[in-house]
Amino acid sequence: MLSRTAENLYWTGRYMERAENLSRLLDVSFRAALLPAADANPAADWQSALDILGITDAYKAKHGGINQDSVIVFLTLDTSHPYSIKSCIDQSRENARTLRATLSVELWESLNTTWLEMKNISRQSLLERGPRSVFDWVKERSHLFRGVAYSTLLHNDAFHFLRLGTHLERADNTSRLLQAKDRSLGALPPEGGTAYYQWGAVLRSVSAFRAYTQIYRDVIEPVRVAELLILKAEMPRSLRFCFDQITNALDALSQGRDLECRRLAGEMQAKLRYSRIEHLESQGVGDFLSVILNRLNGLGVQIGRDFLMTV
């Protein structure tokens, strides 16, 4: 496969996943901001969303103070920066535009339709229709994208590069979300509705609320949430799941070559596979996630070296 094609596939997958993650992040912030006033600090919830993405300064330069509608519009429709849902969908489609010969017709049409419909969403329609219905729509389009990819693309290099981008992005997002919530919610008293509601919102935002209750059959405890989202192989948005997917894709792509990126990914996968949450907790979950984020970055760079700059 052409290196440029591989790169475009990787970013098509990454940006679509990022669009989905942004709507999940907005959704959890929205839920958190709905708490009764005595317990809530909506500005802090929205601030935290901007912090997770590292774009608080860009936001403040444009809008000044934190305001729910402004943050929602900024992270959904504002294409003056790369971290809005619309920017991500633009980028995903722009990368896919050069892949017309590689993608299935259905996959291109699905992505192109998402892009066309996104163009029709205005500030007014976003706020009037209710932002959460837009976030749900983005999630659905992203699910559709993956489903169509899964069932119409040849499961060859194209599929694997798409999958690689998707799961690197997802691992990155899950790490950031968990790290931020660990920091902001860690101090809450475990008993009482607020902690339950906040961690519940985190779980719901990664479609894990029901999974949690099924696996643990217990009240929501931060350490179990961390376990579920870091170590559980069967949880599709956990780091472990993402790394199983990443190593699997890299195995298929390296075709017997001994590549550094495969070694890096394998090392991380082993760590996720053989760690216990008690151990990570004593080390500090936040620190562990910092290491993961760092490594993810390095892995992305190494994938570029091994596949995209081969000559």
Partner: protein
């Protein structure tokens, strides 16, 4: 000017080829046609068949209007037309081979030497070079028009990087989806195999070293090119890589693609990039589109370019008047298809005539394309004519003039209902090492504005599905 209508014919009788279409138009309520027209537009937009218009925002995407009423040709009309096209392409290819080798036609005085050798599109780099398979023009798009039931005229030859074939294919696909019943009634020859024929043609002209399984790639200028959709479409249909200049590099007299598994050698490049952009070392040093060193590999026979370099000299509008002579000279045959009478404005007599009759003539730039830089006398304002007169006087050899032909019309869906509109036709001719093949069809372009004779998509033209009916 009373134009020949292809459906109604000169006597107002529905032509045999249009029988099914006429019945369908008669039986279908206008509202339903309008619904279908809208549906077609949604389909085209969803597939993403758009083109970029030069001069608008970079990346601005527009749909080429699609007219849902097909254009039809009967079996005998097509038989004659396709024979004529094949003959013309043989002669043009022989001409290219000749002028880049012995130049017999120039020695025989059939074409003025300067017309060829001083032409900007003549490539001295190609002199004496053997091209793989001996073929210069693997893909030709020849624009033809009709003026009456019996005559096709060639308007121009496109021998460099002719485009439009994706519209031919997608128009058919959309038409079959919208009106399956119609296809059940009419025996329309299939055209879906065009990409397959194209790939076969390209593989047939691979260099000898490639062996039985040559690697073919399509070289595009990139997503901002007006025909990018078509490049992607064809690469996809043929299952070959769609490459940009940055994906290729030259090493040891060979061309390679950069792949995730390392370098991979390319044998045939179907390039949709103009001559002067293929190699920055040889032509524009600042162009990022081409591949440094490609020309040198090509000249040594390490890779095939399709079409060959330097084919533009044969489709230049100032060489066009000599094509019938090429047919006689190389093939010893009389041309089956006629040229439109053409005045070369570099000739003082022709110039004087043209300047006196600008309001009746069509004037074109010899090296222009896409309907840019052209004057349609009968439709032009006084001011436009005067402006053009000044341009011609300043550079007479840059222009040719032709009579304004009464292009045939076809029924077309318009704001005022179904009405006749002028059409042309671009069939695509594939020339491989051993054979010439023409998929039965072509791109019909229609001037959607009432009375307009300009069919180019950049000038408000649309397209129609083109039916060649089987016996």
């Amino acid at each position: 000017m009373d134009a020949f209508d292809e459906m109604r014919g000169p006597k107002g009788m529905v032509a045999a080829a249009y029988q099914a279409i006429a019945e369908w138009l008669y039986a279908t309520p206008p509202d339903l046609l309008d619904d279908k027209r809208r549906e077609a537009e949604i389909l085209f937009r969803r597939i993403g068949i758009t083109f970029n218009v030069y001069g608008e925002d970079a990346g601005a995407e527009r749909l080429i209007p699609f007219d849902i009423i097909p254009r039809a040709l009967g079996p005998s009309e097509w038989a004659k037309l396709s024979k004529g096209l094949e003959q013309r392409v043989r002669a043009l290819d022989a001409f290219l081979s000749d002028i880049y080798h012995e130049q017999e036609i120039l020695k025989a005085g059939k074409i003025p030497v300067g017309k060829v050798l001083n032409n900007d599109l003549y490539r001295p780099e190609m002199q004496g070079i053997e091209v793989p398979g001996g073929v210069y023009v693997q893909v030709a798009g020849i624009d033809v028009v009709r003026t009456d039931p019996d005559h096709f005229f060639v308007l121009e030859d496109n021998l460099r990087t002719p485009s439009g074939v994706s519209y031919m294919l997608e128009d058919r696909a959309v038409m079959m989806r919208l009106f399956p019943d119609l296809f059940a009634k009419a025996k329309v020859a299939p055209i879906d195999h065009y990409p397959h024929e194209l790939l076969r043609t390209l593989r047939s002209v691979a260099p000898a070293h490639a062996g039985g399984d040559p690697v073919v790639a399509l070289l595009t200028p990139g997503p901002y090119n007006s025909a990018y959709f078509e490049h992607a479409f064809l690469a996809e249909e043929m299952g070959i890589e769609l490459v940009e200049g940055q994906d290729l590099f030259v090493q040891d007299d060979a061309v390679f693609m950069r792949t995730t598994m390392g370098p991979k050698r390319v044998d045939v490049i179907y390039r949709r990039l103009d001559d002067e952009f293929i190699d920055p070392l040889a032509f524009h040093p600042d162009s990022m589109l081409g591949v440094p060193g490609l020309l040198s590999v090509y000249r040594k026979g390490g890779v095939t370019l399709a079409n060959a370099l330097g084919t533009g000299v044969a489709d230049d509008k100032s060489v066009y008047p000599y094509v019938p002579e090429m047919v006689r000279f190389y093939l010893g045959e009389e041309p089956i298809l006629q040229n439109v009478p053409t005045w070369l404005l570099e000739r003082p007599d022709d110039l004087a005539y043209a300047l006196d009759h600008l309001s009746e003539l069509v004037v074109k730039e010899t090296q222009g394309s896409g309907g840019y830089g052209m004057l349609v006398g009968p439709k032009a304002s006084k001011q436009e004519i005067e402006d053009f007169r000044a341009k011609i006087k300043a550079n007479p050899q840059g222009y040719i003039a032709q009579p304004t032909l009464a292009l045939s019309t076809c029924p077309t869906f318009t704001d005022e209902g179904i009405a006749p509109r002028h059409v042309d036709l671009r069939p695509f001719i594939l020339h491989g090492k051993h054979s010439i093949s023409i998929v039965p069809g072509g791109l019909t372009r229609v001037a959607l504005r009432k009375g307009s004779l300009v069919v180019n998509s950049s000038q408000g033209g649309g397209t129609k599905d083109t039916w060649i009916l089987e016996e």
